[in-house]
Amino acid sequence: MEATRNTLRRIGAIAAVGFAAASLLLPDGDALAQQGKVKIGLMLPYTGTYAALGTAITNGFKLAIDENGGKLGGRDIEYFTVDDESDPAKAPDNANKLIKRDQVDVLVGTVHSGVALAMSKVARDNNTLLIIPNAGADEITGPLCAANVFRTSFSNSQMGIAMGKVMAEQKKKTAVTLTWKYAAGDESVGGFKESFEAGGGKVIKELSLPFPQVEFQSYLTEIAALKPDVVYVFFAGGGAVKFVKDYAAAGLNKTIPLVGAGFLTDGTLEAQGEAAQGLLTTLHYGDGLNNPKNNAFRAAYMKAFKSEPDVYAVQGYDAAQLLIVGVNAVKGDMGKRAELVAAMGAAKLDSPRGSLALNRGHNPIHDIYLRKVEGKENKVIGIAVKNLTDPPRGCKL
């Protein structure tokens, strides 16, 4: 904004003589910033595997803005939308388009961690405000944290930390972990190991297979031979469906409990059917969460979009709630970045998931729920960890 204003003034100075009369009719720069629209860049997946997630996040975001009268700090809003295709290679270009061409005031995105990492780099380089409504890569709010980068979803290690604590409390002594060999899985399993071993347990074997392979039979044989007290896994989507079914077909679920990060049973219960019944998972949202905010949110979302909201819709909703707090604090003057960021960092949000605050690295501090699969629902049966905050390792804020 500052740069634009300077350019405008320079052009103005050169053309001052010729356009003197005309320029009198224009409001000056400061007034423009106050009265113009707030430009929001939504960079999310609208095609491909994550299309449904991108749509849910967008819906949640717009719902919160609409509940705020469709304005931010008294100013109207203009949305700029880009389909990021969950393609990290296209991410820098897409983010730059929104920032340089459309001159957005705030960037919102995305689902895929690789894309989000690229976005956070562009946002840091351009000092653009960025709110991440899903991608869980730990480092975004760890070593790569920045004053202008926020996250309203979760970090990968949080679910592992919560489940490790619960399993240690249940007096489980030994565990085997299994995941796809990629950042999200490693971080999730790392969190589990950390808290499980801190609670007195021991991870006796860490198994992993290349993403996105789904031939699990040899790992199941290995688990049966090791006979741990519990198995912690990180899988999502098609891999989650297949693993849960294979685990049950191998009869392992009768003797060795299977637990995992919530993605193991989120959006997959239809396909998993009987095999998933009774599984315990940890996530920051779940079915049957009975608080006034959640009930109101679910009703409003149903009314607006004619579909049940999910955890992704909540994350999008909270991204907008966080932005509203920031912009309201500076009364719509996006130029007051330091105050805006300070207000967002200190925000205490009333989220459908419960209370939501941010830690030093701008990562959520929230309750992680323990959930049990009952029928087609991930029923919340308790709080695994109250106000979980993962240490922002390597963050210099």
Partner: protein, 289 residues
């Protein structure tokens, strides 16, 4: 690793290998006999799996779904060969790659439009929905054993078809010298059309029979495609026995690679392929002629 685990892992490897063979056999027929590089082979596998899902939900019976699915996939193969692939026999491989790559995109998009992008499970047929306890903690799903038996039976049938029947003789003759066969008065175009349809049906059948254990999900075809090319190349292009042998080898290498050297699980099969190709660049069972 105790002896039980070792034996079960051996079983895992063989079972995985047999399934790979089923998919790869269609590829080796089309690639080896017709000389067509068909990248869309994985898509036929995916089409099969999705047919199993939709037809099984409609009819409520996986076996009925498979029978209907086979008929549909044979038709699909005939139409594709007639409309597209038959124009490419005389062109070079690059054009075949372009066409079949295009088909991958078309099939993925159609799948997305018709069934959507969700992951679906296919219910096991009730008679196979049980497991045999092998050790106190581990049971083996009967359906996997059934799949292996079906794969073995098909390998035998294919061998008989190619080497012991009149049609097989024509197929082999056509592979060696297309012009000579047609000048002898045989309708080689029809033979090729049948081989292509057979290849498509084999891939689709593999997808259908694997659907209950693999579940159906977007992009499942591309995963299978790469490993199938590995099987075909190791086995020797066009050889049914080669494909069977190579598929078992890959199945075992993959299974034991994951258990014994988990850090390198992703590369074991490719290292094996590189080693075999250094030793025998034509693959293990080079077709004579």
């Amino acid at each position: 690793m105790d002896i039980y685990s070792l034996l079960i892992q051996l079983l895992n490897g063989v079972q995985y290998g047999l399934l790979l063979f089923l998919v790869a056999s269609g590829l080796t027929l089309i690639f080896g006999i017709m000389g067509i590089i068909n990248l869309a082979h994985g898509s036929f596998y995916m089409v099969g799996a999705y047919m199993a899902f939709t037809l099984a939900s409609l009819t409520g019976n996986l076996f009925v779904a498979i029978v209907v699915g086979i008929v549909l996939s044979v038709l699909l193969g005939i139409v594709l060969e007639w409309a597209l692939f038959s124009h490419l026999y005389k062109r070079d491989h690059l054009e075949q790659v372009l066409l079949s790559y295009g088909l991958i995109l078309v099939f993925e998009e159609l799948r997305s439009l018709i069934v959507g992008n969700d992951v679906h499970g296919v219910a096991l047929p009730a008679i196979f929905d049980w497991s045999i306890p092998l050790t106190p903690t581990l049971s083996y799903p009967v359906y996997r054993l059934f799949m292996s038996a079906v794969c073995l039976a098909l390998a035998g049938l294919l061998y008989v078809l190619i080497h012991r029947t009149r049609l097989g003789m024509m197929i082999r003759a056509g592979a060696s010298n297309r012009e000579m066969v047609s000048s002898l008065g045989l309708n080689i175009n029809l033979v090729y059309r049948l081989v292509f349809a057979l290849g498509v049906a084999l891939a689709a059948f593999a997808g259908m029979i694997a659907a209950p254990v693999s579940s159906v999900y977007p992009g499942m075809g591309t995963q299978v495609l790469i490993i199938c090319f590995v099987v075909v190349v190791i086995g020797g292009i066009g050889s049914i026995w080669g494909a069977l042998f190579a598929a078992l080898l890959i199945g075992l290498a993959d299974t034991f690679g994951k258990v014994l050297i988990p850090e390198a699980a992703g590369v074991t099969v490719y290292l094996l392929m590189a080693a075999i190709l250094l030793w025998r660049p034509e693959g293990l069972f080079k077709r004579v002629g």
